[in-house]
């Protein structure tokens, strides 16, 4: 099973990567925090494009909705709420340490990436698996039977498949996966969201007007009565 990558996809991949890393570099170096927040949105958008290039359409849409749409707005709000942030985020003394840590992490990860013998899709030999991954995949019924819908042109002996099968129709297979194999995790994420919501509200509400302000009042009244 050969999953070939076209030149156009490669160009799109490098463009999205350059966008992501360029904006990320602005985020970690820009002194103006508001500009950093805007650059962060650009970086998230680049990552979203990267997911589309990697044929993970649903993840790309989620990335754009959640990160570009929600988290970036949250960041911008945070920057605007906190007034003295306008003075800029000064770099701490940890700059050299930070650079050293980053270079070490990057070197280790890059070394691992290039020195590992990754298994490839070519190693899948089962014809049903190849067909389901490349030609189209339709699920039927409760049983484990799978239906493969062939989209390859009739009569062509050698079809170069770039994105097809599960990796084109990933959304439906992903949805089925989420409510079957990952049902429990899916439910627990909902619980986590509720906990986050309540925790955020608890932290953000006004400090209780209890003890600190109530106690002086009787004293003032007593003082007033005595005068």
């Amino acid at each position: 099973m050969i999953m070939e990558v076209s030149a156009l996809t490669t160009i799109a991949f490098w463009a999205a990567s350059a966008m992501t890393l360029g904006f990320a570099a602005i985020v970690v170096t820009q002194r103006d925090v508001f500009r950093a927040a805007i650059a962060l949105a650009g970086s998230f958008l680049g990552v979203g494009i990267l997911y589309f290039v990697l044929s993970a359409e649903f993840v790309g849409v989620v990335q754009i909705l959640v990160y570009v749409g929600a988290i970036s707005v949250l960041m911008a709000f945070a920057v605007m709420f906190i007034q003295d942030i306008a003075s800029g985020s000064r770099p701490s003394q940890g700059r050299i340490v930070g650079a050293a840590v980053a270079v070490l992490i990057f070197a280790a990860l890059a070394f691992t990436a290039y020195n590992t013998n990754w298994s490839t899709m070519d190693e899948i030999t089962d014809p049903v698996a190849v067909a389901a991954l490349t030609e189209g995949y339709v699920e039927v019924g409760e049983d484990d039977n799978i239906t493969v819908v062939t989209t390859a042109p009739v009569g062509s002996t050698e079809v170069v498949i770039e994105n097809d099968g599960v990796f084109v129709d990933s959304t439906s297979a992903l949805g089925v996966s989420l409510i079957r194999e990952y049902m429990l995790a899916f439910e627990i994420i909902g619980l986590l969201m509720v906990a986050t919501l309540i925790g955020g509200l608890m932290l953000m509400r006004d400090p209780p007007k209890g003890r600190d302000e109530q106690e002086p009042e009787p004293e003032a009244e007593i003082g007033g009565a005595s005068v």
Binding site: V53, A129, E181, G200
Partner: protein, 116 residues
């Protein structure tokens, strides 16, 4: 575009985020850098899903629908990480606001004390 290239981009994003976390002083930019690191990890997960075969498809057993779906485990991982990161960001900002209200500052060096 090979898996090595994608992992390189993922590693670069993670390293940039790590640099930001260590070198920035404002809590808000530290959280931004944390989000960059999350994104680097998720890119790697999606890349593995795209370029490496699922173990269930290579075992030699008859291929089931579940085995086919296991090719998308990286995508599922990405969605869960995104959900957790979104919750984490919301809570982190609530904490930053609480600290700003208490200490009139959002710099890490001012967060050394945890009184009250």
């Amino acid at each position: 575009m090979t898996i090595e290239n994608v992992l390189l981009v993922s590693a670069a994003l993670f390293a940039l985020g790590a640099y930001g976390v260590v070198s920035r002083r404002s809590l808000i930019t530290v959280i931004m850098s944390l989000e960059l690191m999350f994104n680097g990890v998720v890119i790697a997960a999606v890349a593995f899903s795209r370029f490496t075969p699922a173990a269930a498809l290579m075992s030699g057993d008859p291929v089931t629908a579940e085995a086919i779906r296991s090719a998308l485990t990286g995508h599922v991982f990405a969605i869960f990480v995104t959900a957790v990161a979104a919750g984490e960001a919301a809570l982190a900002f609530a904490l930053v606001f609480a600290m700003y209200r208490a200490a009139e500052s959002v710099e890490i060096t001012d967060a050394a004390e945890m009184k009250n």
